[in-house]
């Protein structure tokens, strides 16, 4: 059973006005898989990710998550989103709430947990990302790496079946990247399903089950990291990989 995909993107299309950004994307992610998406700027990586939890409405095709077509109008998207965590490049922590407040908000308002229980679960999630001692700090009292780990804890607290990462380390100073990657590594070990857009190629080589190369709204090539980085089949992939990887 674990071989049937938990996320199945089928012929997904998305346009902004006349600009077609996704031109029929097919992508399947199985449970416990870590899939890496790479590609040049503007190729549609973020758009693809944002269609997977309907932050962006698609114009065609389907996104099947855990058996439900989330692009269908009748789908209760708020219920689906509890099961799909998302981590953003710019963290997007709520600045008026402490770290534990950030993590607890959805536990209280979406899962309707009592305050004490929500805070307890929030602290457990913060502990998981190594920040139990920062629970009462506000975002502006945390480093970028710490903020991003709080954001990961916020996604994890809802016990999602999958987490989407959109360039989680791109806004970080180089010396802070490691702490976030370490958390992602732990998540992978714990069996979390992850779809990651990132330029951390070393991390991709070491941790990804599969690497997907996107260009101009298409998936050009996908395969295990050794293949996509070491022996790319398509000229465009070869070109991209030779420019970013050394």
């Amino acid at each position: 059973m674990s071989d049937s995909p938990i996320l199945d993107v089928q012929g997904l299309r998305k346009s902004y006005g006349k600009l077609e950004v996704l031109k029929g994307v097919d992508l399947a992610v199985r449970e416990r898989e870590l899939v890496f998406i790479i590609g040049p700027s503007g190729s549609g990586k973020s758009t693809l990710l944002r269609c997977c939890n309907r932050l962006e409405e698609s114009n065609g095709g389907a996104v099947i998550f855990d058996g439900t077509d989330i692009t269908a109008k009748s789908t209760n998207i708020n219920a689906v989103r509890q099961k799909i965590g998302m981590v953003f490049q710019s963290f997007n922590l709520y600045p008026h709430m402490s770290a534990e407040g950030n993590v607890a908000l959805a536990l209280r308002k979406v899962l309707k947990r009592p305050k004490a229980e929500a805070l307890e679960r929030a602290r457990a999630a913060l502990d998981r990302v190594g920040l139990s001692d920062k629970a009462e700090n506000y975002p502006n009292q945390l480093s970028g790496g710490q903020q991003q780990r709080v954001a990961i804890a916020r996604a994890l607290a809802l016990e999602p079946k999958m987490v989407l990462f959109d360039e989680p380390t791109s806004a970080l100073d180089p010396e802070l990247v490691g702490s976030v990657l370490e958390v992602m590594r732990d998540l992978r070990t714990a069996g979390m399903t992850m779809l990651v857009v990132s330029h951390e190629m070393r991390f991709a080589r070491e941790a990804a089950d599969r690497v997907v190369f996107m260009d101009e709204g298409h998936i050009v090539e996908e395969g295990p990291p050794e293949q996509v980085f070491g022996d790319p089949q398509m000229p465009r992939t070869r070109d991209f990989v030779s420019r970013i990887d050394h």
């Binding site: 939890n53 932050l55 708020n78 219920a79 989103r81 509890q82 799909i84 965590g85 998302m86 953003f88 710019s90 997007n92 922590l93 709520y94 600045p95 008026h96 908000l105 959805a106 308002k109 979406v110 954001a151 916020r154 996604a155 809802l158």
Partner: protein, 223 residues
């Protein structure tokens, strides 16, 4: 000197006019307590409608805000109180005042709230929605608290203006502070009641002015 004391700071007049002014002051407090929340809630509604995904709704709020910001509040009040009866709509003075203030100050508060909402990055709402919060919950718990904090000085300053504007109610014979003071003046042929009213306004509003300058300085240093 004697002349000034006699006409502006006359203790006999003070003791005579005091009960009337106190009642007027009470009415002013009631007016403020009615008109400020009404304006705030109206303004919040206007600002939220301004974020609607329907273009027609957004356009209507723009027209509404422009119209009532251009409409002099005194003209508006007199129109509602003395003009509408010609259409068979005869509203009591207090209702006319509340309606005029709803229309006028919701336009101003609406602009303040709109600026606040737009000062909150879209990433905040996206993060909240991605955890399953509804649009309403996102607005309530994530966007508005930040929006209000970002425009707090403007909110307080607008509230100060609205509070002072309640003296307009005197033109529709609502016995608030200014009306009572002016009545006392015409009965006593003395300006002392007007000075008393000014002092009462000052005592009431000065703390708000203090608060405003404190948060203006506070928000500058925290940025």
């Amino acid at each position: 000197m004697e002349f000034i004391l006699q006409n502006f700071f006359n203790w006999d007049i003070v003791t005579q006019a005091w009960p009337l002014l106190l009642r007027g002051f009470g009415m002013t407090l009631i007016l403020m307590a009615a008109v400020i929340p009404v304006g705030c809630i109206g303004g919040l509604t206007v600002a939220l409608l301004g974020q609607s995904r329907f273009r027609a709704v957004r356009w209507m709020t723009i027209i509404y805000v422009d119209f009532f910001r251009a409409f002099p509040p005194l003209v508006l009040l007199i129109f509602i109180y003395a003009g509408l009866p010609f259409a068979g709509i005869d509203l009591p003075a207090i209702v006319s005042v509340c309606l005029a203030f709803l229309l006028n100050s919701s336009a101003y508060y609406g602009e303040v709230f709109r600026a606040g909402i737009e000062s909150v990055g879209t990433g905040q709402a996206e993060a909240a929605r991605s955890t399953g919060l509804s649009g309403f919950q996102t607005t309530t718990y994530v966007v508005l608290p930040q929006a209000i904090r970002n425009v707090l000085p403007d909110l307080v300053s607008n509230t100060l203006e609205v509070a002072k504007l309640t003296s307009l109610a005197s033109v529709v014979a609502l016995p608030e502070l200014l009306y009572s003071a002016d009545m006392a003046r015409s009965v006593t042929f003395n300006a002392t009641p007007i000075v008393m009213a000014a002092v009462l306004y000052l005592v009431l509003l000065w703390p708000l002015v203090r608060l405003l300058s404190r948060i203006e300085h506070g928000s500058m240093s925290s940025r």
